[in-house]
Symmetry: C2
Subunit: 120 residues, 2 copies
Amino acid sequence: MRKNRSPKPPEPCLLTECMQVIAGAWAPNVIWSLRAGPRRFNELKTDIPPVSSKVLSARLSELEERGVLVRHVRPTSPPSVEYELTALGEELIPALEAIVEVGHKLKQLRGYEPASEAAE
Amino acid sequence: MRKNRSPKPPEPCLLTECMQVIAGAWAPNVIWSLRAGPRRFNELKTDIPPVSSKVLSARLSELEERGVLVRHVRPTSPPSVEYELTALGEELIPALEAIVEVGHKLKQLRGYEPASEAAE
DNA sequence: AATCATAGTTACCATTAGAAACCTACTTGT
DNA sequence: ACAAGTAGGTTTCTAATGGTAACTATGATT
């Protein structure tokens, strides 16, 4: 039996830990939408068209529990609610920026590697 | 009715596109484990202890279809299978590094913000 | 009084993930 | 020869997650 040939990743857990903070459908998009400033529920819904109220609501609660964002209720006529990133939430932005960066490169490479669903 | 107050994110879709490439349970960990070189099925399983064979197998198939990694079957005694990142797969590493970076900062901040599950 | 907007909640169904057992081909031990 | 072990999965079953659509409460507007 052989031992590890490649030097094993020193901290696989840190990856997982951060992923758990941004886990859940549309969570990265929510954080991304909030990076420019606070936004309201329906603004987030139009920022992220495919998300439903239910999932957005669930995601916002979870992200609040995780300390990624805060919820402010303002006593306007129909009470308006604003969501805003915390300091912890802002720490996540560089990672999301890196992901968006990769998004650009992926479009180029996908021209050469058609490994999508054209195959039988 | 008011219009968008914060300048809306210019490319929310690129985030989603990249996230779809690394979507699925343990997919980021698989890519992370492969960043140092090719690895075999059971090596990946021990790299990522909580993953089950079924999910790992599903993830590897998906990542192969997406062009993130390639599967090499080598005609050894019990045929051994190696998984290796493609060029596209390697493009993802900077994003994962950024996520790991954030993982470090999160540990510090979490000391100040206990918003986990202690609440009622 | 009926309607609308905001910020959700609820019910129902489809998909995904996780746990554990099982499978096939080949090698080694007795 | 026969049993067990190893590599790389697949199958089955259950639990959690996500998607769709309908519904709700409060106050403002017509």
